[in-house]
Symmetry: C2
Subunit: 277 residues, 2 copies
């Protein structure tokens, strides 16, 4: 059953990458002005100023920060590279704490040609290794299953079922799943997996955008909600059926929209959010 339409922006969050041309400061100002009080922060906008300064800015603006995006990329042929990835993930966790983010989103990684089962094993091992650090920092880790189109080089976890396997294996209140409609809308088991994540208390985040028909590029041709074929309202209905009342996070990678005036684009985002999520 589809959810009732959203009537306000109170649960709307935007990922800074959605407005890629903007700095962190511009994002904060732009979102505030548009009446949006939550944002997930990508690491590229932290780089120029550091997490400490970013944290001050976000707190001064009274911004809720669902997530730091993104940790992960655990698998590697070389053990040294795997150890380095753990360090990067610990840094992500520290940064997340610094900016007051509730979780780090994990794009878990994949290595072209490595057997998927091995990559998934290395992913589980990597998450297990950094979980104590996350727990100590009070920052949750959310595995984001990525569309199978990214299975070669970005994520060996491509459905909620595979994320659930790792959550069940490590069973920790700080480990859960970020559900992104773009990546999982096609999965026949989606409703069932969302319900299971609800029961297991692993449903940490809900991301929205749309799947354009035709998709012109595998990376940066995501649609704004309503541009494509995903029935986001039905998926939100399932997510809320579990009791989830976190943010609906708008995460759109789009060369088309990045080329627009970002303030005008934000108005489109507001409209699309209220009309289609």
């Amino acid at each position: 059953m589809p959810a009732s339409p959203l009537t306000d922006l109170s649960r709307c969050a935007i990922h800074t990458m959605t407005n890629k041309p903007w700095t962190l400061g511009q994002c904060i100002d732009g979102y505030r002005e548009a009446g949006i009080g939550a944002m997930s922060v990508w690491r590229n906008v932290l780089e120029p100023i550091g997490a400490k300064e970013a944290g001050k800015m976000l707190r001064a603006a009274d911004m809720r920060v669902p997530a730091l995006v993104r940790g992960g990329f655990f698998p590697a042929h070389d053990p040294g590279a795997r150890a380095a990835a753990l360090d990067v993930n610990r840094t992500c966790i520290d940064e997340a704490r610094e900016i007051g983010a509730e979780m780090v989103v994990l794009v878990v990684g994949a290595v072209p040609g490595m057997a998927m089962a091995e990559a998934r094993k290395q992913t589980a091992d990597g998450i297990a290794a950094v979980l104590p650090h996350a727990r100590a920092a009070g920052v949750k880790l959310a595995i984001e299953p990525l569309h199978p189109m990214y299975a070669a080089d970005r994520s060996c976890i491509n459905r909620m079922a595979e994320a659930r396997t790792i959550c069940e294996q490590l069973r920790d209140p700080f480990l859960g799943i970020a559900v992104d409609g773009y990546h999982v809308w096609w999965d026949p088991d989606l409703r069932e997996e969302i319900m299971l994540a609800g029961e297991q208390k692993t449903l940490f985040a809900f991301h929205v955008c749309d799947w354009r028909v035709e998709t012109r590029h595998p990376l940066n041709d995501r649609g704004l909600m309503g541009d494509g074929c995903i029935d986001l309202r039905t998926i939100r209905g399932w997510v809320e059926e579990t009791g989830f009342r976190g943010c609906n996070e708008v995460e759109v990678f789009s060369d088309h929209y990045w080329a627009m005036d970002q303030t005008q684009y934000l108005q489109l985002i507001r409209q699309a959010y209220l009309r289609y999520v």
Copy 2:
């Protein structure tokens, strides 16, 4: 366990679409000259000459024809369109019989925005409706699960599991599955599903090409075997573990390779087939 390397071309088949610039006649001559005795025929190369004439040419060249490609596209909002799709599929079956093809490959279709469960139901209904015609013609129907990247508009069946569900529902010796490495390599259940298809006698076909990293275009940027990350030899090992001894069908859609001299390209295909399949 990976299969032993192939030492000859005796089980190699090529899809005419792999050499898109060529007519049916050019494909037959080119493949013969390259020592390839099997080919799957796409409908576009039948159009200019008709199935009857095509059948004569293929028989005269003593070509084995694993498949006519492609039927399917069953789901539609309009009942009239669904009925028309059944007629098209019956025509495909007639053409397959005419050219001596063992099966019709089904790309089952999808309708942007239609609930996937509804599209799958209409697909099962459509297949059920044309199965008697296939049986009478002695032509098998092979459901080809397509990569989830095509779930919006080309196929609501994206994993072997979903194809199996329909096969189990309709249980008919003329209904099975075409396994294409490009579409299913990422699936964690792939080995298990191939074994199940073996047990259920539904493993009708095995298609090969490669997944390029990065993929530059969702449609026509497939790699030749060895260009990408798919461990085709391991997948062929699983396929052969079931007793499958049909053709290894080379099916590559690639703007890059279509721009080449097709005779030279055929030499690359031969090498890649022996080295990586």
